[in-house]
Symmetry: C2
Subunit: 407 residues, 2 copies
């Protein structure tokens, strides 16, 4: 018998007890301290550390505020998906996600590696820090977690059991609404458009019927293409980083969807960092140097992804028809097409939709923000409408640079 045999919401003291009883991390002599460090929405995040050693752990528990409502079910389901996916990703891409020490279904909590020595990539980019290994790390993460969960590599019955296991209706619905629908029609009246751009956005997004049909095609692709176990929310706020280490967190949106959804999100959020740097770094030399580093990183993410993808295909493909000459390159070209489209969707929805990015909202100068948003959206429209034409990093960069020149 243990007090942790029935769910209850732990406070910091109880988390210390929990860690002592359930985890084999700290010594008997440990002097444990605990602090709630999350922003306390549906989940609570505790950091537990030992004053007598350098050991520490993160305990993330699904909240109980709405315990008997659907929200609780949603919350516990999310933490289960997060734990399961982190463990699978840890096998496929070792070192690139936090280690899960224990998932506890009763307590709806996940104990995992403490990444307090890392920072959130989005914030670091807004502070104009550089991470020369990021493109290498994130491209490895994506190739390994994505290609290795497709029918190219996995035995098809095994893959279908994963598809079934990771059907994720509630979180997918959020994406379907916020990414694929509302940015183009403000259907739920939740868009939040920068006032100086409202007229321009109305014309460029709400009144562009051709764009709406493309959004419809992409929404159906997202809802039907069970290609790989994608992260589903791979923006720069889902990445913990330090100079020599990159860790992808928060995969609660994971499900079997299009590979390009993850790659496109990375590209779009690097472009937001670019737009922030372009608008906020006063010193010209410094600005050009930093945006050049971001451009190099964007191109490297695409080009390294392409290169590693084909290499991993050679090494790991098991499906006999996947070995037909030329099929790998055709398949990759469809991933790049989807990548371009999703980069466009993410650039659009994070600029005009419900959930903004700090990269843009932190631009204090109104004229510079107006310009940054127009660069992002006009590049986005090209990525969406001309998605068949993107293959290399240079292709993606050219569109960004042309958009920057136009505004």
């Amino acid at each position: 018998m243990s007090k942790f045999d029935t769910y209850f919401l732990m406070n910091a003291e109880e988390v210390v007890e929990y860690v002592k009883e359930k985890l084999d991390i700290f010594d008997q002599a440990a002097d444990l301290q605990c602090k709630e460090i999350g922003d306390g929405n549906l989940n609570y995040v505790f950091r537990v550390w030992d004053n007598n050693s350098d050991k520490s752990v993160i305990v993330k528990q699904a909240g109980a505020t709405a315990r008997i409502s659907d929200d609780f079910k949603l919350s516990t389901e999310r933490i289960k998906i997060e734990s399961d996916v982190l463990q699978l990703e840890g096998v496929l891409a070792p070192g690139l996600v936090p280690i899960v020490y224990k998932y506890d279904d009763t307590m709806s909590c996940c104990s995992m590696e403490d990444l307090s020595d890392h920072v959130i990539l989005r914030q670091a980019l807004i502070e104009h820090q550089r991470f020369p290994l990021f493109a290498d790390h994130i491209s490895t993460f994506m190739v390994n977690t994505l290609l290795l969960t497709t029918d190219v590599v996995l035995e098809h019955k095994k893959k279908k059991s994963l598809v079934k296991n990771y059907i994720n209706p509630e979180l997918c619905e959020i994406t379907e609404d916020l990414v694929f629908t509302e940015p183009f029609n403000n259907y739920n009246n939740r868009n939040d458009v920068f006032p100086l751009n409202l007229e321009w956005v109305t014309k460029e997004l709400y009144e562009d019927k051709e764009l709406h049909v493309e959004a419809a095609k992409l929404k159906f692709e997202f809802m039907t293409n069970a290609q790989a176990l994608i992260h589903g929310d791979l923006h720069t706020g889902s990445v913990f980083i330090k100079s020599d280490s990159t860790k992808v967190i928060d995969p609660e949106f994971a499900f079997y969807g299009p590979i390009g959804y993850d790659v496109g999100n990375v590209i779009a959020n690097l472009i937001f960092a670019w737009a922030n740097a372009d608008a906020t770094i006063e010193d010209e030399e410094e600005r050009l140097s930093y945006t050049a580093w971001l451009e190099k990183t964007i191109a490297e993410v695409v080009d390294m992804f392409n290169e590693k993808f084909l290499q991993a295909w050679k090494e790991h493909a098991t499906e006999i028809l996947a070995k037909e000459e030329g099929f790998d390159k055709w398949y990759l070209s469809t991933v790049m097409r989807d990548t371009a489209a999703v980069a466009g969707l993410e650039l659009t929805r994070r600029t005009v939709g419900l959930a903004h990015v700090k990269d843009i909202t932190a631009i204090a100068d109104e004229q510079k923000r107006l310009r940054a948003e127009r660069i992002c959206i006009s590049a986005a429209k090209n990525y969406i409408k001309q998605r068949e034409t993107y293959q290399t990093g240079a292709d993606f960069l050219n569109t960004l640079k042309e958009a920057a020149k136009a505004y």
Copy 2:
């Protein structure tokens, strides 16, 4: 307590007892008789009828020969899928599937409408019978069961729960091997090629690398595109028919896959009937008249499907982006593309693969069979390679006629 509380394999006498106890079909005074009418593979099919009335019923039970092996699990899973799908299809397309009276999970058996007054369509077509209502009926069946289970119409969370429910790994594997892979590379050495065509088939199928890449693309489409709850095996042997009634049976291959997989199978199997008639009807006038009826039927299936699909879209679409102008026609064009490709795959695999069709094998004259097979395969290659160009019934027919002219 009932003897039917635990699974056992019923004999005819026990089926009569079962029907009396479990079904509310026959009167107390009924004089019931029972006969096993199936071909006794994994499942047993019993017909029970009343000598004192015109009432009858079919009882289909999963076999127990391999009770503790995987085969039994497969067999019981199949009959559950069949029962579930027949019931859903009965709601979506009333009158076009047999009525399910009862599915009994304990006994792994399904009691359903007796269709003894119908005949199997494949056999009837080989006997050169005509069914003027078939195109109308089958196009309604397909539009209603397919479009109405897509994200166009279904609430997306509900659709995802159906996707999860109908993940069907074992049966899909059969299709992936027999339809998409082996016909092109004889990978498992199970192909069965008519000796007079072996050299020609080697060149036209085994050595056409471009065709193999297209097969690879289509195989991945089949494995990943969770578009609609498809029947999955909709050939003319899965259709019971009489002059005024069409009933689609045997949906045990059902899963969420591409709509075109069902439509393409119908078209291909009508083409097999055409090839049979073309090769076996001696009298020219009769031959031309019957092949003309088949041609009309093929074109009608395509054109009625197109017309009803767009009409049903107008009436039933709930997804807001599905209502964007032009999206319905674009979506339908992708269905027709998939239809053409699958028609080509089915024509190929049923000619050279493990499972033949009687339409072709019943052609006694060797030269005529050689020609019939070449017509089917050369049309097939066009359907696959040029799949983007097929939209109307006339498009499909033109290819058939050109192939017929060439051999």
